[in-house]
């Protein structure tokens, strides 16, 4: 395992795309976390002398301001922080739930598996956007609802992947040896099944984060997600889209940040997949 991780790290290091992507991700995360401390402008402070001003290095607003005079750089960083947090939390939730669900279905198999997979199929058959709109109408808009509705879809694919892996190892000899050593079902799933399916899970998880960021931005763009005065990259892009003829930078700054973030996350995920994609022996 240790050797496997070492090999994977070495393969990852020899992939320039993945290394650049990782560096870019780290930069963006650092910017989003500590950037606001160094920015001269607050994300909610209104600067009436610069309303919808274009980006300029010599002014106080390097990336310009929106139509209320708020500093775009500060707002984009705040939006990025929210988007990343949503992406991470929702991925973690879908990861935990999906792994547990998939491992139980795949290891136990038989009727339990059939029933659990039918439930997944029903859930993934629901038209998601209508589902979210229904929930919003019934419960009112809230950020928890956003987490819930994103989490409700994110775990489905994860559960399928883990279930497939668990099915493929449930009849391996070391599982049989564990049964013969008197390990109960719960112990076998937690100690022998899940750690041995973790490779594909890591890869899928790194590809889930950008998907969820994308989905959150999409919901926020439609006005179903994060609400003013809080910002996410999606709400900033929606705002910018309204002004894109007069002040294109209001769209381009958060849009560019989102595109760069998604590109880096996807590149890194791909690199990780290539690095981990070896036959264990």
């Amino acid at each position: 395992m240790r050797a496997l991780a070492g090999d994977a790290a070495r393969r990852l290091q020899s992939n320039p795309g993945a290394v650049c992507a990782l560096a870019a991700i780290l930069c963006m995360v650092a910017l989003a976390l500590i950037g606001p401390w160094f920015s001269p402008n607050g994300s909610e402070a209104l600067d009436w002398s610069h309303v919808a001003s274009s980006p300029a290095l010599q002014s106080a607003h390097w990336f310009g301001t929106d139509r209320l005079g708020r500093d775009l750089f500060a707002r984009t960083l705040e939006g990025a922080r929210v988007s990343m947090a949503v992406g991470l939390v929702a991925s973690a939730v879908s990861l935990g739930f999906g792994i547990g669900y998939g491992a139980i279905a795949g290891y136990i198999g038989g009727r339990t598996d059939q029933l659990m997979m039918r439930i997944i199929e029903i859930l993934s058959g629901l038209p998601l956007i209508f589902f979210v709109i229904f929930l919003t109408v019934i419960f009112g808009r809230s950020e928890y609802l956003l987490f819930l509705s994103i989490g409700a879809v994110g775990w489905l694919t994860m559960a399928r992947i883990v279930r497939g892996q668990a099915l493929s190892i449930r009849h391996r000899e070391f599982i049989e040896a564990a049964i013969a050593s008197g390990a109960g079902t719960a112990r076998i799933i937690a100690r022998h099944v899940i750690p041995n399916v973790i490779g594909p899970v890591i890869v899928y998880a790194t590809l889930t984060v950008p998907q969820i960021i994308m989905f959150e931005s999409f919901l926020s763009f439609l006005g179903l997600g994060i609400q003013e005065p809080h910002a996410s990259l999606g709400t900033l892009i929606a705002e910018g889209a309204g002004e894109m003829e007069a002040a294109p930078w209001i769209l381009l700054v958060p849009g560019g940040f989102l595109a760069l973030l998604l590109l880096s996350l996807n590149l890194f995920g791909d690199g990780l997949r290539d690095a981990l994609d070896v036959k264990e022996g």
Partner: protein, 322 residues
């Protein structure tokens, strides 16, 4: 004396899409405490299935009949949690392929210690100390370093030693070794057999050695049971069996062992014909189609396992004379 393991009239049947496949037919046997019993038979003779049943490990579609008692617990009727108290502590199993029977992501030391932690309620530090002593007992050189290694860093022979160590952690009453040397090189095979012999002398547990290789069983077993097509056809002390087989099948098996000192043969002797198909039904003796001594009676009437001289049993109408 109360036997460590008592199997009575055990039958194992697989039902698949209406077809019924009998893997084990009314097998009875006792394993006394401290005894080493060798189970010999071809692939498909049901030798592994008997002990899968004895450990409650059969596949879900297997239908079991009969009784299996381990010490004073009824194995066939036991719940999973009752089984798990016995399995791995008092009744353990060594598997055929050490390359795939160790969980790949856990260190050797953890896999050894875990048995004690789970079954005997010991702490991890006690478990680790015991794991180290066990590695020394199963003659793994450089035990301290091996504890922190992963299974893939060990050779097949070392891994089988680790498997044997895992099976001995809780001082079991009975160890079932299912073809423990089949996946290993011949020289390593001999080392493992030696190891099993000396461990049995030290620990005094009963050992069931399942093998298709008479030579492996010969050096270790006190008593040998020969299985054919799901039944026991001969039961005998090891010495007596090798001196003089009673069942024609056993005799044929023995004659197939090539001798290093004998005349060099152009072709190695083999048994003619094939063992019966798993689903095949036969009225008489299952070995009759391949048997040189078969008569009309063998094809219509099934021979029962009967006592012969000197605590030997044979299931044959025309046994070779003792």
């Amino acid at each position: 004396m109360v036997p460590a393991l008592r199997i009575e009239d055990l039958s194992v049947e697989f039902r698949q899409r209406g077809a019924r496949i009998c893997a084990v037919r009314q097998v009875s046997m006792d394993v006394a405490p401290g005894e080493c019993v060798g189970i010999v038979g071809e692939s498909g003779s049901g030798k592994t299935q008997v002990f899968m049943a004895a450990m409650g490990l059969n596949a879900a579609q297997a239908a079991l009949e009969g009784r299996v008692r381990f010490e004073d617990a009824d194995i066939l009727g036991a719940s999973p949690s009752e089984l798990n108290r016995v399995r791995g502590s008092k009744l353990t199993m060594i598997f055929q392929d050490p390359m795939t029977s160790l969980t790949p992501h856990l260190k050797i030391g953890v896999q050894l210690a875990e048995v004690l932690v789970c079954h005997a309620g010991k702490s991890w530090s006690e478990g680790r100390a015991a794991a180290r002593r066990m590695l020394e007992r199963v003659r793994v050189p450089d035990a301290a370093r091996r504890l922190t290694q992963y299974p893939h860093e060990l050779s097949g022979g070392l891994r089988q030693r680790v498997m044997i160590g895992i099976s001995l952690m809780c001082e079991p009453t009975l160890v079932v070794a299912d073809e423990p040397t089949t996946a290993l090189d011949v020289t390593v095979q001999a080392q493992i057999i030696d190891l099993l012999r000396s461990l049995r002398a030290e620990a005094g547990m009963a050992l069931v050695l399942i093998s298709h290789d008479l030579a492996v069983v010969a050096g270790l077993a006190d008593r040998i049971l020969v299985m054919y097509a799901g039944r026991i056809v001969e039961s005998s002390g090891a010495g007596a069996l090798f001196a003089r087989a009673l069942h024609p099948y056993t005799a044929e098996l023995l004659s197939c062992i090539p001798s290093i000192s004998g005349p060099r043969l152009a072709r190695l002797p083999t048994l003619t014909g094939q063992p019966p198909q798993p689903g095949e039904a036969f009225a008489g003796c299952a070995f009759a189609p391949r048997c040189p001594r078969a008569a009309a009676r063998c094809r219509t009437e099934r021979p029962l396992l009967q006592d012969v001289s000197g605590a030997r049993q044979v299931a044959c109408h025309f046994p070779l004379s003792a």
